[in-house]
């Protein structure tokens, strides 16, 4: 089976498992939407401030909780499953690509739900023409976040404090994504070009994709 065939097969099974486990829909997403409510309760802000900070809170929570989609328990593979894949001849780069594909689509769905929650709770004033750039920024952030989460999940595989350690690794490295995503919206609101931020996101995604594919074999050995 060729590279993309294997990647699509890995993604397909990832989706099937997530559909049965429901970790993203039943746990990560409600947790993130709850956090949307916690912010205003904790800060005691007036409505005009809420309207202003809504998109920023969306990006912050999106990245912090979105990384949990890539690090979800259902995505973690036991050593026996990794061995099985290795002996089936699964290309480690195809495995990375497949995990990134399934994780990206799940993360985009997560972001969409979170955006809806943010719009309801914060009633932000959205700039004209926001859907297209927002969708594009969201997709690019989702790709980068999934790539990072997959990489961090692999380097922390099997460790006792995996989730916390992987989150510590992902969070700072995800800052270009937070900046790129939020500044895209900000530039749109100021009627400025979003191109620099889109390029920043593209560059980050590309760098992580190259790292993920290029380091796939050492990663596979390291995670067993």
């Amino acid at each position: 089976m060729r590279f993309w065939g294997q990647a699509l097969e890995v993604a397909r099974v990832d989706f099937r498992i997530e559909a049965r486990e429901g970790e993203v829909i039943r746990i990560v997403m409600p947790f993130a939407v709850m956090a949307l409510l916690v912010f205003p309760l904790a800060m005691g802000l007036d409505l005009s401030t809420l309207e202003r900070i809504g998109p920023a809170v969306f990006w912050a929570l999106g990245v912090l909780f979105g990384m949990q989609v890539a690090l979800r328990q259902s995505a973690e593979e036991a050593v026996s499953r990794k061995d099985l894949y290795a002996l089936a001849g699964l290309d480690p780069a195809a495995r990375f690509a497949g995990r990134a594909l399934s994780g990206t689509l799940l993360t985009i769905g997560f972001f969409a739900a979170l955006w809806l929650g943010m719009v309801v709770v914060y009633s932000p004033g959205l700039p004209a023409g926001w859907p297209g750039p927002t969708a594009m920024a969201t997709a690019l952030v989702a790709i980068g976040l999934t790539e990072l989460g997959t990489l961090a999940g692999e380097v922390t595989a099997g460790l006792r404090n995996r989730t916390a350690l992987a989150s510590l690794i992902v969070a700072p490295l995800a800052v270009p994504l937070v900046v790129g995503g939020s500044q895209t919206m900000d530039s749109l609101a100021r009627d400025e070009s979003i191109l620099p931020w889109v390029l920043l996101l593209l560059a980050t995604d590309l760098a992580l994709a190259v790292a993920g594919v290029g380091l796939a074999r050492p990663l596979e050995e390291a995670s067993r």
């Binding site: 089976m1 099937r16 498992i17 026996s80 894949y85 089936a88 067993r224």
Partner: protein
């Protein structure tokens, strides 16, 4: 030669697991390895499966040097049954088989026959997590009946199996030998090694011919 290990050593977390192990396995041969718990049997199997690289010494499996990129193309020719079944719990037994067979680029049309052969055709829709140990083992046998490995590595494959399921392992061994393949059988119970032409014991990290 399917397997040739020369003075290989392996350690993890500051512990030596294998030390100066030298062994070779010829085509058409079954070798047995017996040893107590913690003696390094599983590590030896995983090294023969190219899943871990020796930290000392050198080895070749199916013509590929261990610890190099040469092992990637030969892995599909190796079949392993580990002491813990490797079946994805969130999938049904049939879905799991289909997934692994597809990844390996093999013919998924053979799956129904393989499930029937191991006696799981009536339970193929059971999820892995709801299946017994014996059922998971049979699923692994079904996978290997399709993949037809040249090198069969069995790590405590008979443990937890009734006599019917145990006979499936014997069938796997016989078919591998018929293909001029090689088999390595690891167990703590010598009674499973009647088909072995040579038996080794592993202890203190080293391999010796068993009396």
């Amino acid at each position: 030669m399917p397997i040739s290990l020369n003075s290989v050593g392996f350690g993890l977390g500051g512990f030596t697991i294998l030390s100066d192990v030298t062994v070779s396995v010829e085509p058409g041969e079954v070798i047995g390895v017996i040893g107590a718990n913690g003696s390094g049997k599983t590590t030896l199997i995983r090294m023969m499966a190219t899943l871990v690289s020796p930290r000392e010494g050198s080895g070749m499996v199916l013509g590929a040097r261990l610890g190099t990129g040469e092992v990637y193309p030969v892995r599909k020719r190796i079949g392993v049954i580990s002491h813990l079944p490797a079946v994805i719990g969130q999938l049904t037994l049939e879905e799991h088989l289909r997934h692994v067979i597809r990844l390996a680029g093999l013919d998924t049309d053979r799956i129904p026959a393989a499930l029937r052969a191991v006696g799981l055709d009536g339970a193929a829709e059971r999820s892995g997590s709801a299946s017994s140990f014996g059922m998971l083992r049979r699923t692994e046998v079904a996978r290997l009946l399709i993949s037809e490995p040249e090198l069969l590595l069995l790590d405590e494959a008979f443990s937890g199996l009734d006599s019917e399921a145990g006979s499936l392992i014997d069938t796997l061994i016989a078919r591998t030998l018929a293909r001029e393949g090689a088999v390595v059988l690891v167990s703590h119970d010598r009674s499973h090694m009647q088909s072995a032409s040579r038996v080794f014991s592993i202890g203190g990290g080293t391999l010796r011919t068993a009396p």
